[in-house]
Symmetry: C2
Amino acid sequence: MVKPVNTSTSQQEPGKGPVDKAMEVLEALARAGGPQRLGEIARRTGLTKPTVHRHLRTLADCGFAQPAEGGAYRAGPRLLGLAAAALDSGPDLRLARPVLNDLRRRTGQLAHYAVPAGTEAVHLELSEPAGEYRMSISPGGRTPLHTSAVGLAMLSALPVPEADAVLAELLLDGALPAPTPATLTDPGALRAELARTVRRGYAVDDEYDEPDVRSVAAPVLDAQGRVVGAIGVSGLTFALDDANVAVFGPMVRAAARAVSTGLGGSAAHLGLVAGGMTDGGRA
Amino acid sequence: MVKPVNTSTSQQEPGKGPVDKAMEVLEALARAGGPQRLGEIARRTGLTKPTVHRHLRTLADCGFAQPAEGGAYRAGPRLLGLAAAALDSGPDLRLARPVLNDLRRRTGQLAHYAVPAGTEAVHLELSEPAGEYRMSISPGGRTPLHTSAVGLAMLSALPVPEADAVLAELLLDGALPAPTPATLTDPGALRAELARTVRRGYAVDDEYDEPDVRSVAAPVLDAQGRVVGAIGVSGLTFALDDANVAVFGPMVRAAARAVSTGLGGSAAHLGLVAGGMTDGGRA
DNA sequence: ATGAACGTTCCGGAAAACGGAACGCGGTGG
DNA sequence: CCACCGCGTTCCGTTTTCCGGAACGTTCAT
């Protein structure tokens, strides 16, 4: 009974299981936009060719992928069904959709809804204006939490210890990623920006993630006051000048609060965290 | 070179792999609407409790599920990201979305887009009218191909041998499923209805799937003339009387054609299959 | 013709998934 | 008060699958 067991029970990170790999293949497939070749998937995911091949065939066998012309693969119907069901699973997106469309109409800019995923923000729903200019943001896309307005909004609404943990995790991979020269890379400056965000009730992204693009965003909270997502408005810098930011900021704040109340959030949390006028609360 | 091949390559159905099971757990999770308990998932999927437990934890570890209050689980952020990306992956849905909204506005009824998945139609996108009445149709939901207008539309646009194969597969599980007394269960009657569908260019569902609900639908084809989906309009029987069916039918036909041309479909296929006025073509 | 890249198949070693059985727990009803 | 039940969880030996290096056939562009 000396308990030889496995001497390395504590670390279960390194060796990822088959489902995770299959999922990565699926993600690569879905994120590609169009049909995708095997080699390309192997390159993107970092998996070996045989592994990708096997998983791809397994996925195709159960309907999550389907062969396309030229030996390529594309997302299968079962994945689309799962996707539609998943996006409908939570009440947040259903509530957010009409709010986004309203925001887009009133601002003439791109309105979007994002949820937190580890140290990143995942963009779920976009409501695009008629204009044809294309931004790097797309459905399913991710940005680090500190480089986007929605990310900053979510960070600002996190309890302090959690926010610190996220920040620490972001710093683990060397310095903070900086997609543009304007990105906030200094933890101190970031904290100051978060404090300003809490004070005014909405976050501002001044070309932190993409040149010539600014955004404003506000967090969406559930009934328990936890962050479930954020609503943002993005536009080119000349369209989102300081005056417009001052107008759109309160609008996204109101929009986010509308979704939050729809989720059953009591006025208490919302006043404290998203409202930003009562100096009380929190410590 | 006698081509010994693998003698048992044909049957790989029986033993489902881990990824498939994990996917079923995910589907159960996503389709549930709200948070879901472990036992409930085990019951729905037919998997044993330990298996579900392990998969659920694995999925939670890589972000596809997340624990909710009361020991329940809900869809995780990574699944939502994958879902958003998947729904954006094909050009068909992007094209269909505005068309659906236009259809809903002009008909005042529920407009939807579905894709084929085996012997079923998977509903991906709904554009719901202001009214509050609820139908059984929901995002990610499925209906057998022969019990819905979108299904009949897709069946009618399939090459004859493929359509026959689907029909045979449907008949494998005993008789054709019949959700309502009006459902077409006789293969002969079904074939006749498909012929009528091809002739007029749109399919009609006269309470085949749900009592008091009628629908019209037309198939969407890709550049090669293959079926990729269908656009339908559904409403209560009193709202979709014969006169309205005669009006809405050509509207969904035009809508489906618009999406098809957007996919690069040449006028040739569309005229033959979806147009329905040129008496030429198809034997 | 030569070379490179691609998709595919093969194989032995390694690492999971599997489910029956058992455990601790909370609620219910005798 | 104590069976009884259902739940979520853990354990374990057996079975199955996964894994990726290496090699093969093919298809292009050089």
